[in-house]
């Protein structure tokens, strides 16, 4: 009998790509439930359409490109969830499905699929939609108003930016998620539960989220902004724990991760203070994605026994 000879090591950990991906999906469940609670069944429709669109696009791309079908590894589901999370609560569903298609086909599969994309698929697709449909992408509604034509309002960051005469939510309301915003970004509490789960499962490390959030906090202190407000009012927590930590589009070395997180923090703050948009998390991460190869190159660890 012909026996296959294998190279060492002959034992392996039981961690797999699929287990990691599905764990990330699990970590997003609290925020998913929160989005439905705050923005109604329509939020669930957005999430459903987004996930289905992403998974179907991945399946079709892999068939067209004659690649191995790997839709069950959970990565397209994550993109679907995260993409839905950064959409406003009453966006037309056809735009959602278009965005899911762009995220997977344009941003991920055209670059070579899992492991090869340069930009974060969910955020890049959001950026494309924002420039294509600026009105629909910035129409935010009052939380807990479940009607389809819910009352529109501004997000806390927009209220500050444009000096609107609208009542700002309290810290507590922002912490639990009872404020206007994209459907998955509002509840700091539920996002932190997922983030801590990812840290505990050792899927992400502290480097990116902590350096990112800390940078925003320090800059807020320096430039006399309300620190807690800056941390909780926009998409920072969602971005820092779930978007900037995307393995494929963030640096691989611990030092690189800190540089990446710090860079994201600086750009986010810069856009919020000086940019044309009230929020800068999405663009800052996309911008920093471009620097990942460069950061990796200059933060390679000193080899054991190498020159100090």
């Amino acid at each position: 009998m012909e026996r296959k000879i294998t190279c060492s090591p002959h034992i392996h950990s039981n961690e797999t790509t699929a287990k990691i991906m599905w764990s990330v999906v699990i970590s997003l469940i609290p925020a998913t439930i929160g989005s439905v609670y705050f923005f109604g069944v329509y939020a669930l429709k957005i999430i459903g359409v987004s996930v289905i669109s992403c998974v179907l696009t991945e399946l079709l791309s892999q068939i067209i490109f004659r690649k191995k079908i790997r839709i069950f590894d959970g990565s397209a589901v994550i993109t679907g969830l995260l993409f839905a999370f950064v959409l406003p609560p009453r966006i037309p569903l056809w735009m959602v499905s278009l965005g899911g298609f762009l995220a997977i086909f344009l941003v991920k599969e055209l670059f070579g699929g899992l492991g090869f994309n340069i930009f974060n698929p969910a955020l890049t697709s959001r950026a494309i939609l924002l420039s294509s449909f600026p009105v629909e992408m910035t129409k935010f509604t009052v939380p807990l108003d479940y009607r389809l034509d819910a009352i529109t309002t501004a997000t806390p960051l927009a209220i500050i930016k444009e000096n609107l005469n609208v009542h700002l939510p309290s810290y507590w309301q922002m912490f639990i998620g009872n404020r206007a915003g994209c459907i998955g970004e509002t509840s700091i509490l539920l996002l932190l539960i997922g983030g801590i789960f990812l840290l505990w499962r050792r899927i992400i490390t502290w480097h990116i989220p902590i350096s990112y959030i800390l940078t925003v906090a320090i800059l807020s202190l320096i430039f006399r902004q309300d620190v807690l407000f800056q941390i909780m009012a926009g998409g920072l927590i969602l971005g820092a724990f779930f978007m900037a930590t995307d393995y494929v589009t963030s640096p691989i070395t611990p030092k690189g991760k800190i540089i990446f997180g710090t860079g994201c923090g600086i750009i986010t703050f810069l856009i919020r203070m000086k940019g044309g948009y009230p929020e800068g998390v999405c663009y800052s991460i996309i911008f920093m994605n471009m620097f990942v190869p460069l950061i990796n190159r200059y933060t390679l660890p000193r080899k054991f026994g190498g020159k100090k």
């Binding site: 060492s8 002959h10 950990s13 790509t17 691989i252 054991f304």
Partner: protein, 433 residues
């Protein structure tokens, strides 16, 4: 402590409490002339010769080479090429037992009166090589090159590979002799301070070692260090780092930072060669994994591995594979019809793993970077190896890789990282990049 490494399930309970058992006197042995690092030994016997146990059958050719002895008494039936358990082939002396069990009686000596040169010569003549798996000739290691100075002798009692318990048993059952061996090495290399490094999973023998240290014969300072259980704690470079805080320079040797490291069984063999005149003709190894009776066996060099497996109730096939050495760095060989050699630390039967058939994409999770004890970035090296860009593999220091297997172990995509690096190293060597 060194950075990186992994915590492994050690599976040592399977054989830890099994006392060392002497395996039966073989009817036939196949003794390779190239079991060690360096030039193969030159045969000193020919077909038809009668030999006895302990007789030299191959002599060292050059400085980095080793003597080889017969492990039984009998007749040389052939000298031909045989496959080794390390995947190579070597000219081997095949001896059939004559049933007389004759051996050369060793000459007892008081080593304190011997000079360093005399001791090194005895070690060389006794055919002693590193028994931790590398099989580097010990007399070379004990000869400190001019201009260098050894400050510390380190006894490597880590045995950090899962399943293996042979060194643990030897350290437990021959503690006094090993301490004496350590004293011999220290005196020979003019070292005043020695360390014994063991992992915390062997804490139960710490007291016995401490007692043996108290009863030492010389003034040499010996200190026991209990190190955390972290693979690859037993890697020479990492053991030195853990104990002395020094880093062996890349492409350098332990002596460059004043250290020389010896394995438990090597040290015991040195003691027996110097004090009792016994050459290296046997070793202790662990038989474990999916075998009916896991054991620590004292085996004569040249004994057939398939006979040992038969004795321990180990069968191949049905999703089971044979691994020589430990599960992290050992070699999977197709057939057990090979002899035990000096570097055979263990014989394991392990389940075949259900790994992906095709190479999966790297998701850049960075787990390999976290665990690499050499501080490399396995993820990137493997991508360059995948596209056969050997220059970049070299630039990313693939040549510093010790093939410990930590990266492959943790890789969620189950990428064959170590395989990539072995390939890259071979290509770099072949193409002289």
């Amino acid at each position: 402590m060194f950075k990186g490494g992994v915590k492994l399930l050690d599976f040592k309970e399977l054989s830890k409490s099994e006392e060392i058992e002497e395996f039966k006197y073989p009817e036939k042995v196949i003794i390779p002339l190239s079991q060690h690092t360096g030039a193969p030994a030159k045969p000193t016997v020919k077909k038809g010769d009668t030999v006895v146990e302990g007789q030299i059958i191959g002599e060292a050719e050059g400085f980095i080479s080793s003597f080889v002895h017969s492990s039984i008494s009998g007749k040389v039936v052939s000298i031909e090429n045989y496959p080794l358990p390390n995947g190579r082939k070597s000219l081997s002396v095949v001896i059939e037992s004559d049933g007389k069990n004759e051996k050369i009686e060793g000459e007892k000596k008081d080593w304190v009166s011997l000079t360093s040169q005399e001791i090194i010569e005895i070690v060389k003549k006794a055919g002693i090589v590193g028994l931790g798996g590398a099989a580097f000739p010990t007399h070379v290691k004990m000869s400190i090159p001019p201009g260098k100075k050894a400050e510390f002798v380190i006894l490597n009692g880590c045995e950090c590979e899962p399943f293996l318990t042979a060194d643990y048993r030897v350290l437990k059952e021959n503690t006094e002799e090993i301490i004496e061996g350590l004293e011999i090495i220290s005196k020979t290399t003019s070292v005043k301070k020695s360390y014994i490094g063991i992992e915390s999973n062997k804490i139960d023998i710490a007291e016995k070692i401490e007692r043996a240290i108290e009863n030492k014969k010389t003034e040499i300072d010996i200190e026991l260090k209990i190190l955390p259980e972290k693979y690859p704690q037993g890697s020479e470079k990492h053991l030195i780092k853990s104990i002395t805080g020094r880093e062996v320079p890349s492409e350098g040797l332990p002596i460059d930072v004043g250290c020389i490291v010896f394995n438990v069984q090597t040290t015991l063999s040195i003691k027996r060669a110097v004090c009792d005149g016994i050459p290296l003709t046997e070793r202790v190894l662990t038989v474990s994994g999916l075998v009916e009776n896991p054991k620590n066996l004292k085996v004569r060099i040249g004994t057939s591995i398939s006979e040992i497996l038969k004795y321990c109730g180990g069968k191949l096939g049905d999703g089971k594979k044979l691994v020589i050495g430990g599960p992290m760095m050992g070699i999977n060989i197709p057939s057990p019809d090979v002899p035990v050699i000096k570097s055979t630390t263990g014989i394991l039967i392990l389940p075949e793993e259900n790994l992906p058939e095709t190479i999966q994409p790297c998701i850049k999770c960075g787990k390999c970077v976290e665990v690499c004890p050499m501080n490399l970035v396995p993820a990137f090296i493997s991508k360059y190896a995948e596209s056969e860009n050997w220059e970049m593999c070299k630039n990313l220091n693939v040549l510093d890789c010790i093939e410990c297997g930590c990266c492959s172990y943790v890789c969620p995509a189950k990428r064959p990282l170590v395989e990539f690096f072995k390939w890259a190293k071979a290509e770099i060597k072949k193409r002289k990049i």
